[in-house]
């Protein structure tokens, strides 16, 4: 069958095989410990191997599902881009390679953009998919990033980026390079609109992506052990011909060197992002609230509200929409509870914490990162 597979593959494969519901490998091997894990269990554990805490790479769609409340989001439309600006050939036509990547990943390009609720707050998010030609940044990916950021500006919401990329898409040459300034313009639009831009650096984030929008966030969060760099380790090794230090260019190394704000376990990622967004957006949201105050049932006028921090919490409890959202945030993180069988102790305490948090009034944002 091999030869026939090779011949008919890209076009016909999508007809022959419908959506693959069952992955080829039901059991996954942890690259650190070598333990076998059932793939459903791994998925339930947000693709983090139990025991070793090894963070497996996650597809863009899974990222979005993990981020948004109940995994629900709406795709943000992305304007089309030229597909083969250079008429690039390297033995095979670039459009053929693209088609392969599309059918293998069921994506249009390496970036997925969506909007929805994160812990009750409106956010726009984009995720890069490393499976799609190494998550490389081409014209289509650039347009997607820009579209996502501009959508956030339009909706006045924070923008969250999950970076995962091998860098520029070489098959698009200079047009790929030009996505560096182009995406930077959109970052500036977010900045001008005073909207939080949260970058989550995941394994791997390299090259032109790191050297543009992925390093321009207000808050940089990295997943543990992710490779984050400009020049890859191999290139550096070839240049300097020396052994590279242990842990070089990994998340923890970047944290130590002041390039990122925090390294966050995937299980706590959602809560962390939600908290940062809420903290950064609060003044803007309060202001918006005050501006439409006359319609609201609040008796407190603008002036009193501004200095009455102690009173404000009581008021917020009465706000049904807000309390609902907050409660959701605490009980959320479904996949974590599933993970109990791997880490009974830890998840146990988490569950307790979240219960406690749920009992508390909405006065404080929940401290638990569960």
């Amino acid at each position: 069958m091999n030869w026939i597979n090779n011949v008919v593959r890209p076009k016909i494969r999508s007809f022959l095989t419908t959506k693959r519901e069952v992955p080829d490998n039901l059991w996954r091997t942890c690259p650190v410990t070598g333990n076998m894990v059932f793939h459903k269990d791994l998925e339930a554990n947000q693709f983090v191997f139990p025991g070793s805490d090894y963070h497996e790479r996650v597809s863009a769609v899974d990222r979005m599902k993990m981020l948004f409340d109940a995994g629900v989001y709406e795709k943000v439309p992305v304007p089309g881009a030229a597909t083969d600006p250079l008429k690039f050939r390297d033995g095979r036509r670039y459009p053929d390679r693209l088609r392969d990547a599309k059918s293998a990943t069921e994506l249009d390009d390496a970036v997925v953009v969506g909007e929805g609720l994160l812990d009750g707050q409106n956010v726009v998010a984009a995720a890069q998919d490393f499976r799609f030609m190494a998550g490389s940044l081409g014209m289509a990916a650039g347009e997607a990033i820009i579209a996502g950021m501009l959508r956030a500006v339009e909706r006045k919401t924070p923008f969250i980026l999950f970076a995962a990329s091998g860098g520029a898409r070489m098959q698009e040459g200079i047009m790929s390079l030009m996505q560096m300034p182009r995406t930077t313009i959109a970052v500036q639009a977010l900045r001008d609109a005073k909207l939080p831009y949260i970058v989550v650096l995941t394994d791997p984030t390299t090259g032109g992506v790191t050297a543009s929008y992925a390093m321009l966030g207000d808050v940089h969060i990295a997943e543990p052990g992710a490779l984050i760099c400009f020049a890859g380790p191999r290139v550096i090794q070839q240049t300097i011909r020396e052994q590279l230090p242990e842990g070089f260019q990994r998340s923890e190394y970047l944290l130590e060197h002041g390039m990122i704000d925090m390294v966050v376990h995937r299980h706590k990622l959602r809560a962390t992002i939600a908290r940062v967004c809420r903290l950064l957006m609060k003044p803007a949201l309060d202001k918006a609230e005050r501006e439409k105050a006359p319609a609201a049932p609040k008796r407190m006028n603008g002036k009193a509200y501004a200095k009455a921090d102690a009173v404000a919490p009581n008021e917020r409890i009465e706000d049904p929409a807000a309390s609902q959202n907050e409660a959701e945030s605490v009980v959320e993180a479904e996949p974590v509870t599933e993970a109990e069988r791997f880490e009974p102790k830890r998840t146990g305490t988490k569950a307790q914490k979240s219960e406690k948090a749920a009992e508390q009034t909405q006065a404080q944002p929940p401290k638990s990162d569960a």
Partner: protein, 340 residues
């Protein structure tokens, strides 16, 4: 900006230096036939000395004519890889040659104020055709000592942070900015990564895009990837005729895509890295013609032509407000590629 651009193009074409005067001592590999002719001419000349033998003179003239046509023919159809070699050629005028030739009262400024001075990017204030400007660029160096001093034009994060400092200063004092691009790329090393090479480049590009003063960039040799973009995110981008500008070196592309570094010639062609390709793609605004045989055969002519082109480009922004200049630059990049 249709009007100023048209005028710009006219002058670039008019400023083509027709004569090449200064003889070169070294030749690129593909120039071998020309080198042999030149050698023969030189031999004949020394042989006859002051002799006014008519037939000998005629012979020499014939040979000279042949050498000239051979050179013109070779350079008229340089392959992208040959252009890469020309763009990297050590005898080619470098950043400081342009600065010395074009800027009066050049006052170099140093240091990023955080960590170090990086001489891979040189810059400072000076007078360009009567106006104060900020000028900066990658300097590759011209001999072993200076090449090491300038780290072969490959900047560290400090270099880009210095560039940001100078650009912000230019904005503060309303000085137009001229950047000269000539780098193989940002330096890939442990120290550079440790101190945030990626962040430094990103911030520099970011800074270019927020300035209210015009930026004119000229790729004078090699425009290497992010290391170039960091200071080439300009209102007007010009390239010398045989300069290249690419997301990755042909060698790098060959080893990554073809998995064979020897495929560099193929890669150079497929990547579309020449000034002519980039003009077609709408990435650059104009090409500055080089003398027959490359910039190194008439450095003065090419530097003057570059100066004229920069002056014209800057003139187009004279009546624009900072906001308009900023918008012009952002629109320029946002539109890029949308009509391909």
């Amino acid at each position: 900006m249709s009007e100023p651009e048209l005028r710009l193009r006219d002058v670039i074409e008019r400023s083509v230096p027709l004569e090449n005067s200064s003889p070169v001592r070294t030749y690129l590999d593909f120039e071998k036939p020309i080198a042999e002719l030149d050698k023969k001419i030189h031999e004949l000349k020394t042989l006859i000395g002051d002799d006014t033998n008519e037939s000998m003179r005629g012979e020499i003239e014939k040979l000279e004519e042949k050498a000239r046509t051979a050179l013109a023919e070779t350079y008229a159809k340089l392959t992208p890889w040959q252009k890469t070699l020309v763009a990297r050629y050590t005898e080619r005028p470098h950043c400081l040659d342009y600065i010395n030739g074009l800027i009066e009262d050049f006052t170099p400024l140093a240091g990023d104020r955080y960590f170090a001075e990086d001489e891979a990017i040189v810059g400072g204030v000076g007078t360009f055709r009567g106006r104060s400007v900020m000028v900066m660029g990658h300097e590759k160096g011209s001999d072993t000592e200076s090449r090491i001093k300038h780290n072969f034009g490959m900047a560290m994060p400090e270099g880009y942070r210095k560039a940001v400092r100078l650009m912000e200063m230019a904005d503060q004092f309303s000085l137009p900015i001229i950047t000269l691009v000539d780098t193989a790329g940002a330096y890939p090393g442990i120290g550079a990564e440790e101190r945030g090479q990626a962040e430094a480049i990103a911030r520099s590009t970011d800074c270019c895009l927020k300035l209210g003063v015009p930026i004119v960039s000229v790729v004078i040799g090699e425009g290497g990837s992010g290391g170039a973009v960091a200071i080439a995110t300009a209102n007007t981008i010009l390239m010398l005729e045989h300069a290249i500008y690419s997301v990755i070196s042909p060698e790098g592309a060959a080893s990554i895509i073809w998995r064979d570094a020897e495929k560099k010639e193929e890669a150079a062609t497929a990547m579309k890295i020449t000034a002519q390709d980039l003009e077609e793609l709408g990435v650059i605004d104009g090409i500055i013609a080089e003398p027959v045989g490359g910039a190194h055969r008439d450095p003065k002519g090419v530097i003057d032509a570059t100066g004229t082109a920069i002056a014209l480009a800057l003139a187009g922004f004279e009546t624009m407000t900072p906001d308009q200049i900023r918008r012009h630059r952002r629109d320029r990049f946002l539109q890029m590629g949308r009509n391909l």
